[in-house]
Structure formats: structure tokens, C-alpha cells
Symmetry: C2
Subunit: 209 residues, 2 copies
């Protein structure tokens, strides 16, 4: 298809397609003349990926890193997935005064208790440290019991997600990991808020009886 | 204690204390002279609440709503909790072109399947709709099986949280609900990202054998 049809089918204006080409996050089409190129389904899928990431607040700089890893897919898959997902925005903005410190001691001690082998400098570990420090600073430190329950159920969710990761190509695995992390995180958060409303209603109705 | 001691113990500069007083999110101290007032532990706790909410990106306008509900605690507790938690920022920013529409049809049909009674216009339902629409637009719509697994484990987490809600005062219940929602959400998200890294490692190591 030509660029105009690509733009229409992907749901973006033609200048946006040109911008993605210029930024090299969209691969060039197959040139059919000096001024024309043919695009296919892979281009539509790529535009959907870029649109999804930008809509969720991922900067063009980070999108370039992610797309570069998908396109070159060079190196051990595990490292490519780690690099791509760690280029996503953190789960929460760092609050400079919240008491998180280097070495991520709170998170590291928890990972050790759980027998996890992730390096303590990995971005999600730093994000856990930050979140634990924020809870502590607000006078609501997390108890061991609460942490155990969170870990149990979050691990069950993650196990399902990783079992369903497509391994037919490195690019597919990286794309699934990146999109699955960032698209399903708000679904899980919204479901939790819905469950809170529903369960508060049940508990407060029961107490009132 | 005097204002200078309050500021020191709460870990904020004196002008910040004055700003919170002016915005009426911090309750006035007990006047001991025309220019002096005594503050106590409730003021320290309130500053911790305001600091936690602002560090997590909650605007002063929203903080005023939340604090107003905690201070007046007027009306049925369930409605106060709903109003306070629904004043929190959404789980994800709305993307204008993501195809979410009025009436929240995707989320509403899911709530109906689950037998949930929350009104379909409630903010967390709109947020779920948005997140489902984003996933669909990115070509990764959520399957029924995935949704069932998410719901099962998220409900288990929420059940623990609601069982542990303090009911000794309406203010305590509202404060726990607001802080619990916003402080523990990033802990859950960070744990999920950690579990992904760990479980990808295990799956890819196993496949390589």
C-alpha cells in the first residue's frame, strides 16, 4: 500500500507517518520509484506500537531504544527483554525527599527473603525501593504479611503472563513484554480500585447489620 | 509544640507549614497568644499525608477535596471513601484517541459478568474502560482467560486490604483508603515487573536446556 493508505489504515495523519520515518522508529517501505514506496502489515503493526507507547507517556527517546532492540534483536533474548522493558517509564515518579537510598536496601532484603536473583541495581528493584520508602515516609510502612500476600498474587499473575509470551521470534517476545507491561499495568490497577469499592461496600454493609 | 518544631519534626520548611495552613489543608493549632499556636501529633500526621499525596503527583485541588472529606467526615462512610479515593489521579492518563466511549461498554460488560454492582459511571470503571480500549488499540486486547486470572488475584489482594481497613473512626478509614490506594499501587506494579524479570529468566533458561 502507499503512504496515504498506510496512514488511513493505521489511524494517523500522513505527517505523523513521515515523522516516524524520520525518527527511524518506522522502518522504510520498499521503494518502487524515486518518490514512492510500498508499505505492508508490519508497518501498520509498528505504528500501533508507537502510538500505544506514546499514548501511555513514553517519550520518543525511550521509544527509539525499544524499537531499536526489537529491530536488531541482537544478543541473548533475556537481555533484550530486560533492556526494552527497563526503558519503560518507572511505575512511579521518584520523589527526591522520600528517603530511598543507594543500594536499594529495603527491596534488596525482600528479594533475598524471596530467594530472587535479580541484581539489586535493576530498575524495577529501584522502583520497589522508592515505593517502599514512600509508604514508610507516609507512616504506612508495608507489613510482612501484606507483602507476602501481594507477592503471592502478583507472582501468580506474572507466571500466567510469562507462560503466554510468544517465543517464535525475538522481536515478538520483546514486543509482547513491553506492551504487556505497560498496557496491562493500568488494567490491574483499575481492577484493584473496582474491587476496593465493591468489597468496602460488602464489609460496611455487613458491619451495619 | 511551636510551628518551628512542627516543621522540623514533619521534615518540611516553615513556609511550607504556613502554605498548608493558608490552603486550609492543615488544621490551625491551638492559639496560645495573638501570634503563637500549639501543634500536636495530629498536625505531624496531616503533614505526612499531604507530603505523600503531593510527592505522588496529587494536585493541591485534589488534596483539598480529600482532606475536606477526612475533616468533616459527614455522611455515610462508604460514600466518603468513594469520594476521597475517586479524587485520586486516574491509574493512567486518558488518551483522547484510544476509542474509549461513553457508557464504558467494555468495562460494564465485564462488571456484569463478574456480578459486580458498582455504577458504570464510577471513575475506576471509566479507568478500566480506558485501559481496555488502549490495549485493544495496540492490537493486544485482553483475553477472557487473562481477565479471569487478573480478577481472581487482584480480588484476593483487595480483600486483604479491605479486611485491614481501620473502622475506629471515619477519618482513619478514609485516610487508610486513600493512602493504601496510591502508596501500594506502585509497590504492586514494581513487584510485577520484578516477577516478570525473574520468571522470564526461568522460562528462557529452561527452554535453552
Amino acid at each position: 500500500m502507499l503512504m496515504s493508505e498506510l496512514a488511513a489504515r493505521a489511524g494517523v495523519p500522513v505527517p505523523t507517518v513521515k515523522y516516524y520515518l524520520r525518527e527511524k522508529v518506522l522502518m522504510p517501505g520498499r521503494a518502487t520509484s524515486a518518490t514512492r514506496a510500498e508499505y505492508d502489515e508490519t508497518h501498520i503493526r509498528r505504528i500501533a506500537l508507537i502510538k500505544a507507547l506514546s499514548a501511555l507517556g513514553v517519550s520518543m527517546t525511550r521509544i527509539k531504544v525499544i524499537v531499536g532492540l526489537i529491530d536488531t534483536a541482537d544478543g541473548p533474548l533475556l537481555e533484550l527483554i530486560a533492556a526494552a522493558t527497563w526503558a519503560l517509564p518507572p511505575v512511579t515518579e521518584a520523589a527526591p525527599d522520600s528517603g530511598a537510598s543507594t543500594g536499594n536496601p529495603r527491596a534488596a532484603s525482600i528479594l533475598a527473603t524471596l530467594g530472587l536473583t535479580l541484581p539489586t541495581e535493576a530498575p524495577p528493584v529501584a522502583q520497589l525501593e522508592q515505593a517502599l520508602a514512600d509508604a514508610e515516609a507516609a507512616g504506612m510502612p508495608i507489613t510482612d504479611e501484606r507483602f507476602r500476600i501481594y507477592t503471592e498474587h502478583v507472582t501468580a499473575i506474572a507466571a500466567y503472563e510469562i507462560e503466554n509470551m510468544p517465543l517464535d521470534s525475538a522481536s515478538a517476545a520483546i514486543e509482547y513484554s513491553v506492551l504487556g507491561t505497560i498496557l496491562y499495568e493500568p488494567i490491574i490497577a483499575a481492577l484493584r480500585r473496582i474491587a476496593h469499592a465493591e468489597l468496602s461496600f460488602r464489609r460496611l454493609t455487613a458491619e451495619a447489620d
